[in-house]
């Protein structure tokens, strides 16, 4: 594998770009792996990388039913932030953001992480009070970059928003995290895949799991479309399809529902928006940023009913377009380039699970709701730690399947046990 460096880029430029090798191998499937990660998305690849890097495991495979990064890894709106206030979430996402800040160097791959600020608009004195409370919590618990902005400061930083006096929801200020921002989602997939591959991890694409062989409380092997593989340990990291794998393993029900979330990108524009802007008011929800290519990348709420279909419905397109017009009326004549949907695993309290399971050698990573992208580095880090050491570290101890039995809900929104409400 050729490492990326300024010298290498220069040398390849002079010599006709002929010396680059494949970014990762296309290895033959072995009949046994010490650890098999099911799911070649961001969390699966990151887990494999940290299993090899932090824990020295080498006989590791990542199985992906399609192509790596073709699921939610390639369907999100690429926002990274850590402004979570609940105990557990707060520390977890703070760790994730620290890993993001070093990720390009760590992987020797430019993931285009851009800390351009996350600006959540506030529209009422009550919202400002709630944001102040939230951000006081953040500042006291290790997120020092929490800020509340007044209207003048906001107007200076983001001049194109709808500040009209007659606006239905006049903007009064914003809650801001400056270290938050965006990253190039495909680059994160490729970066983790390449770095994991360099450490000996086998990335097996076009390999769907079709059955789970058990011997009592152990998984012995996985049936796949490319044959049977025996496994020492197995980790599931398959986002919206977790329940299907879970029932293949004969494990019954989970505290999650699969819903679809749409995202949108416009035609490329000249630089217009330097930050991530979020609007949430009553029933409306909208978040937008501008990619380096110029496209306005934005999204809104779920489609509001359970679904495994990776395609969105039109009422939500209308909702999102209406929210876009109320936040940034200057987008009115911008053409939509593409819109799509991904299947997300919405959990009962809006928080995730990285935990052991009823089976001795099966580990679970699921329940990421809207927020799996930003969690990628920490999710991989702690899932690998769990699999390697066979015990949950304190960082993830509360994020297990039994927390509801203990009366614990890690519910940022306070929305209760209704998966579709945890946006």
């Amino acid at each position: 594998m050729t490492r990326f460096s300024a010298w290498n880029v220069l040398w390849q430029g002079i010599t006709g770009q002929k010396g680059w090798s494949r970014q990762w191998r296309d290895p033959e499937l072995k009949s046994h792996y010490d650890v098999i990660i099911v799911g070649g998305g961001l969390h699966g690849l990151a887990t494999a990388y940290y299993l090899a890097k932090n824990h020295g495991l080498r006989n590791v495979a990542v199985l992906e039913k399609g192509w790596i990064g073709g699921g939610n890894a390639g369907r999100n709106t690429t926002i990274v932030r850590s402004n979570y206030a609940r105990p557990g979430n707060c520390q977890f996402y703070a760790h994730s953001l620290k890993l993001w800040e070093e990720l390009s160097h760590e992987l020797n791959y430019n993931v285009m992480f851009s800390q351009r600020s996350h600006i959540a608009l506030l529209h009422s004195p009550g919202a400002i009070d709630a944001a102040a409370r939230n951000y006081n919590t953040l500042r006291r618990t290790g997120t020092p970059d929490a800020e509340i902005w007044g209207l003048e400061q906001l107007k200076q930083a983001v001049p194109h928003l709808n500040y009209a006096e007659g606006a239905r929801f006049p903007v009064m200020g914003a809650a801001v995290q400056k270290r938050a921002g965006t990253a190039r989602h495909d680059a994160v997939v490729w970066g983790y895949a390449r770095a994991a591959d360099m450490l000996g991890v086998d990335i097996i694409q076009n390999c769907a799991v079709t059955g789970v062989e058990r011997d009592g409380a152990r998984i012995t092997a996985l049936e796949t479309t490319r044959g049977r593989i025996t496994a020492g340990k197995v980790g599931f990291a398959v986002a919206g399809n977790t329940s299907r794998l879970w029932s293949m393993a004969g494990l019954g029900r989970l505290p999650i529902e699969s819903h679809k979330l749409q995202a949108f990108v416009s035609e490329p524009l000249k630089p217009l928006l330097d930050q991530v802007v979020v609007f949430g008011m009553g029933g409306a929800h909208f978040y937008i940023s501008q990619s380096d290519k110029g496209g306005m990348v934005f999204g809104g709420d779920l489609d509001w009913y359970k679904s495994y279909a990776q395609r969105g419905n039109l009422p939500i397109v209308q909702d999102v377009a209406e929210a876009a017009m109320s936040v940034m009326p200057c987008l009115g004549r911008v053409k939509l380039l593409r819109h799509w949907a991904g299947v997300v695993d919405m959990s009962m309290d809006g928080s995730h699970f990285i935990c052991p399971t009823p089976l001795d050698n099966l580990y679970l990573n699921t329940g990421w709701n809207y927020g799996g992208f930003k969690a990628t580095p920490a999710a991989g880090w702690w899932f690998a730690d769990l699999i390697a050491n066979e015990r949950p570290a304190p960082m993830i101890a509360d994020f297990d399947l039994k927390r509801f039995e203990r009366g614990l809900q890690i519910d940022e929104r306070g929305a209760g046990p209704d998966p579709k409400l945890h946006g």
Partner: protein, 94 residues
């Protein structure tokens, strides 16, 4: 857009309805063990395929209905009032 045939109002766009959730859940008796209530409130089968679910016609008659819908294709197999008495009354044409 999914079209749902409301038993009371006829075929309408799904945007008139609000999705309730898994319609196959049987809530336990009030004095049932905590574990039964935990399972009913927090655990879901999360079927990929045909599932029974509840919807409310919030922008129409406001009635709750039970819908059999495929969660992959969104095809609707059947629609009936959620209230068994109303379902029986509709069935017998009263």
């Amino acid at each position: 857009m999914i079209r749902i045939s409301c038993p009371f109002c006829g075929p309408r766009d799904h945007a008139e309805f609000s999705y309730g959730g898994d319609g196959s859940i049987e809530y336990p008796a009030l004095d049932a063990p905590v574990q039964d209530w935990h399972d009913a409130v927090f655990l879901r089968e999360n079927i990929c395929g045909l599932q029974l679910e509840t919807w409310q016609h919030v922008h129409g008659c406001r009635m709750w209905i039970k819908v059999e819908r495929d969660t992959m294709t969104h095809e609707i197999r059947s629609v009936a009032p959620a209230h068994p008495g109303l379902a029986a009354a509709l069935e017998s044409g009263q």
